[in-house]
């Protein structure tokens, strides 16, 4: 298993390299730049700006310098617990932002990432807490009205996208009923609507996958054996069927996490949440070279790492699979 993880990590290096290179050159070769939107600056200011961001160097040198700054140089993962600074922890330097000249991209990430992480974890929690019971219930009570209700709820979750559901929830529960704030990210109550909205789609998918997985498992011989030996229904479900029935859900968690990540762009816009997702979209509009690269690299690293975790868990849960 360690060999498998090692190989996957090695494989990730060229992938990250391609992502960094692609993003770096793509943003340089398109018209417009970080300073074109602003009022015309005096030539002197412009010269200073270009010098400050090393934009006068030949492009290949900028690229090489940037790659060097990104290369991990130390390994203090525990530094991450005191503020999420990748420079303290690994010596990864994303450089100063173009739009906020006094701040480095590392600082912005350390500032905004925890918000997005909290939103993502809560949403995933909602998705699992709602999706799993719905799916199990639908599978156990197959072809009954309970199944139809659960499956319809799941279909609704899939077909009402977050950017429709979110505003509708705000309209109903914040504006008309006044139970929540329409936007903001202050108290715990502000977490409710955004995580419900973002989690809904994945709750729906998880319910469908759980239902399918359980239906397949409940037909197996070993379940019949368990029943024949007089195991209670609850024991059959939670003790015998759970592990096999959850397999499709585990393999879905990789895409789900990636989806929650990108879904947060819209949710953070709807609910005015100061997270990294909104920062990323703004940075793209602002042509904030370093902030774009920093967030893209961070997201890509996250998704690659989480996919690896999901794959390992999958093999651990299903001995039929092997690390190849």
């Amino acid at each position: 298993m360690l060999r498998y993880i090692g190989r996957r990590l090695l494989e990730a290096i060229p992938v990250m390299f391609v992502i960094i290179t692609g993003t770096f050159f793509m943003q340089r070769f398109v018209p417009g730049g970080p300073f074109t939107a602003e009022k015309a600056v005096t030539p002197e200011v412009e010269r200073n700006l270009l010098a400050y961001y090393h934009l006068n160097d030949p492009l290949w040198k900028q690229y090489a310098d940037y790659l060097w700054d990104l290369t991990p140089k130390r390994f203090h993962p525990f530094a991450l617990t005191q503020g999420f600074d990748l420079k303290e922890a690994f010596g990864i330097d994303f450089r100063p932002s173009f739009k906020y000249p006094n701040r480095t991209v590392n600082e912005i990430i350390a500032d905004k990432l925890p918000v997005s992480l909290e939103l993502g974890v809560l949403s995933l929690g909602v998705a699992l807490a709602v999706g799993l019971p719905l799916g199990v219930l639908a599978a156990v009570k197959r072809n009954s009205w309970i199944d139809y209700v659960c499956s319809s709820v799941a279909m609704t979750g899939i077909c009402v996208p977050t950017f429709v559901l979110g505003p509708l929830l705000v309209l109903a529960f914040a504006i008309h009923l006044g139970w929540f704030n329409a936007s903001g990210w202050y108290g715990p109550i502000d977490r409710v609507l955004p995580s419900l909205t973002l989690g809904s789609v994945y709750a729906a998918y998880i319910a469908r996958l759980t239902r399918g997985g359980f239906l397949e498992v409940l037909h197996q011989d070993y379940i019949r054996t368990a029943r024949a030996k007089g195991a209670s229904e609850a024991r059959v479900i939670f003790r015998h069927a759970l592990r096999g029935g959850l397999l499709p859900v585990v393999s879905f968690l990789g895409p789900a996490v990636a989806g929650i990540l990108t879904g947060s762009f819209v949710i953070e816009t709807i609910f005015q949440i100061p997270g990294l997702g909104r920062e990323f979209v703004n940075s793209a509009f602002n042509r904030d070279y370093t902030l774009i690269l920093g967030t893209v690299i961070l997201y890509a690293g996250f998704i690659i790492a989480l996919n690896l975790v999901v794959d390992v868990v999958q093999v651990w849960m299903n001995p039929k699979l092997k690390f190849e």
Binding site: C159, P161, F163, G166, P167, S251, V266, V296, I303
Partner: protein, 304 residues
């Protein structure tokens, strides 16, 4: 040991007095159609999709132009003259929804077509050629699967201006991966069948075998996943439009209308509810149709 072959000794049935009508054979398609007909939800979905598409295609001819403004009117709720109300610029919401639907459905169709062409060719070639080529090609797909593609579509749309043709390609380029995987799996099982052997024995080239003999036999799964890709594509387009990266004004798509409605929902609820409703209705219809087709054509799930 066996009992005597009774059927042989039994008297032959009397010859039919008049020619019986032969029962028509059940091809894959007629069987599938038979099963689909029994699935009420899928049928409703199919009919709804066709109605919506016709409405969007023909409706704008009769409705007011989506650009017609009546600034004195401003935003008014649903009434007799404007069935679904007007937006803040006094434009008829129903007309705008029909025009927006044209764009949304067109993006759905064209981008799905792009994904279809890339995915089917890629998957068929990988599956048919097999061996190291297949391993390498599928490894690339695995890696691409793990990438945050939506992020790249966002960057593309920002950097290269919000061009609708770029939108088609960017979305199509993201959505072909699942199709490639499915087609490859199917091709792997089909290429070992005798009729492929026969085609090879007849001396046909690879290209001809792949495109004339293999692909027609994986049409079932392709149709099912095309139907299910259309809502996924439309969702991505609406997502981009919601972020302000999709279709630009004065043109409109359902995603852009939803965005507009979400911004103004506090005073003008209909601007959010109707576009959101028609969009969700379309997604419902397409998903039910796709699920029904999957059951009817007996296609296994994509995860296999």
């Amino acid at each position: 040991m066996n009992s005597s072959p009774a059927p042989l000794s039994a008297p032959l049935p009397p010859p039919p007095a008049e020619p019986v009508e032969l029962e028509a054979g059940h091809s894959l398609w007629s069987g599938a159609w038979h099963r689909l007909r029994k699935n009420l939800l899928a049928l409703c979905g199919g009919v709804a999709v066709i109605c919506l598409a016709l409405l969007c295609a023909i409706g704008p001819i009769f409705a007011q132009s989506y650009e017609d403004q009546n600034l004195d009117l401003g935003a008014v709720g649903p009434n007799a003259a404007h069935w679904l109300g007007t937006d803040t610029l006094g434009r008829d919401l129903f007309a705008r929804m029909l025009y927006g639907g044209r764009i949304s459905l067109m993006v759905g169709l064209v981008a799905t077509f792009v994904a279809l062409v890339i995915g089917v060719s890629y998957g068929a070639i990988a599956g048919y050629v097999g061996g190291k080529v297949d391993a390498a090609m599928m490894r690339i797909v695995d890696i691409l699967y793990a990438l945050p593609f939506t992020i790249f579509v966002i960057l593309l749309m920002v950097f290269f201006g919000r061009n609708i043709f770029l939108l088609f390609f960017a979305i199509g380029a993201v959505e072909w991966l699942t199709m490639a995987r499915i087609v490859r799996g199917q091709v792997l099982s089909i290429k070992r069948m005798e009729f492929i052997e026969a085609a090879r024995a007849l001396g046909f080239g690879r290209r001809r075998i792949i495109f004339r003999h293999v692909i027609p036999n994986v049409l079932g799964p392709i149709i099912v996943y095309t139907t299910l890709t259309i809502p996924a594509v439309m969702l991505l387009e609406a997502f981009l439009s919601f972020l302000g990266l999709g279709v630009q004004p004065p043109m409109s798509s359902w995603g852009a209308l939803i965005k507009d409605g979400a911004d103004k929902m506090e005073e003008f609820w209909w601007l959010l509810v109707f576009p959101g409703g028609i969009f969700s209705l379309t997604l419902f219809s397409l998903n039910f149709l796709g699920d029904g087709l999957r059951d009817a054509l007996d296609v296994r799930s994509a995860k296999d």
